[in-house]
Symmetry: C2
Subunit: 237 residues, 2 copies
Amino acid sequence: MSELRVFGITGIGEIRPRDDLAGIISAAVADHHGGLLDGDVVVVTQKIVSKAEDRLVPVDPDDPLSHKALVEQETVRVLRRRGDLVISETKHGFVCANAGIDLSNVELGYAALLPEDSDRSARRIRDGIRARAGVEVAVIVSDTFGRTWRRGLTDVAIGCAGIGAILDHRGTTDTQGRELQVTEVAVVDELAGAADLVLGKASGLPVAVIRSVDPAWLRTGSVRDEIVRDPSEDLFR
Amino acid sequence: MSELRVFGITGIGEIRPRDDLAGIISAAVADHHGGLLDGDVVVVTQKIVSKAEDRLVPVDPDDPLSHKALVEQETVRVLRRRGDLVISETKHGFVCANAGIDLSNVELGYAALLPEDSDRSARRIRDGIRARAGVEVAVIVSDTFGRTWRRGLTDVAIGCAGIGAILDHRGTTDTQGRELQVTEVAVVDELAGAADLVLGKASGLPVAVIRSVDPAWLRTGSVRDEIVRDPSEDLFR
């Protein structure tokens, strides 16, 4: 029987610039959840990655223009504006609200920018966990994005390491022997969303572990290379 | 410790028109997985719901125009076309490729239309499971959709019952006491994606159970009322 376990990691305190995330996560899982295992998928929310990488920038909490200026600075292309909401493309190629800059769960007076390169952030955490805990895990950096035609937000992957971002079924056939039409599944996004179910926006838990994923998914992977859609193949930009 | 279990249900055979899905699912979970529990979330893929509701229509497997005509018939508005791909709005308000009509895992010579009303389908399955197994579960009907600016597909909810589609954090505060900016989480979509991780496109398993979700999520819910975005508030239609 194929069964996944999804659990939030307790015991991770407030993260500060230059904190060793891999060490902190390994220790918290060891202390509270029996330790990481080979093949675990560790989902780390963007906010603590940005904090550890010192991506905090000052913002005036009493001046909405201060946040707005930051959004413009992180934007390479504005797709739509409505009221205070800007849907824009970041230099990473993500299309999201307010260039991914959200003020929640950051110290007052600061905003957290997205990591410079979230695939690289994921690789560093994965390498650090290997060095500290001796296990081969996959790492996903997750963030919360809206969707074009559906209300509500979901968590998706903005970086990954040790797991393919896309599971490609091209060439496989369905139960009728017919070639599958749905061929590319964004498993890292489904994993990021699954992790959010145990993290929740208000709980403050910043890391989840997903155990027992298909070992075939564990390979070199990249959100930037596999998920970010090139504008030339994009029908809505 | 908050922990979810996600498992695919074995022992569900080929579904035919007018099959009793609630009975078949209850029996399969009882026979192979120890039975359903109060509070379980049962995720049922659209294909078998459409089959049980006899939404199969003939299509000529050798004539691509036959599929195309069906797509046009189920479309209320075309948003984009590129080659064979049509991004269109269905009468349900979903925006997706080919009006949600996919030929995979359907008998050759047939296509499966989306259920008329997937919230109603979910309610019927939920009521049937209560009647047959004596448990109060939530039900999600899931389908596989693409995303505007991200490659790869994920499973999302097209109908639900016994669970709120959106978890609304408006009015709650973050760890700093500041009102959360990310307020509406599409939990049914995150649950549908999590289920897909154990179903997979080629395995043929059509039902998953997610156990131990937050009981506060279990209420009356509707994908149509909560998730489908009204065109008037839509920036990309």
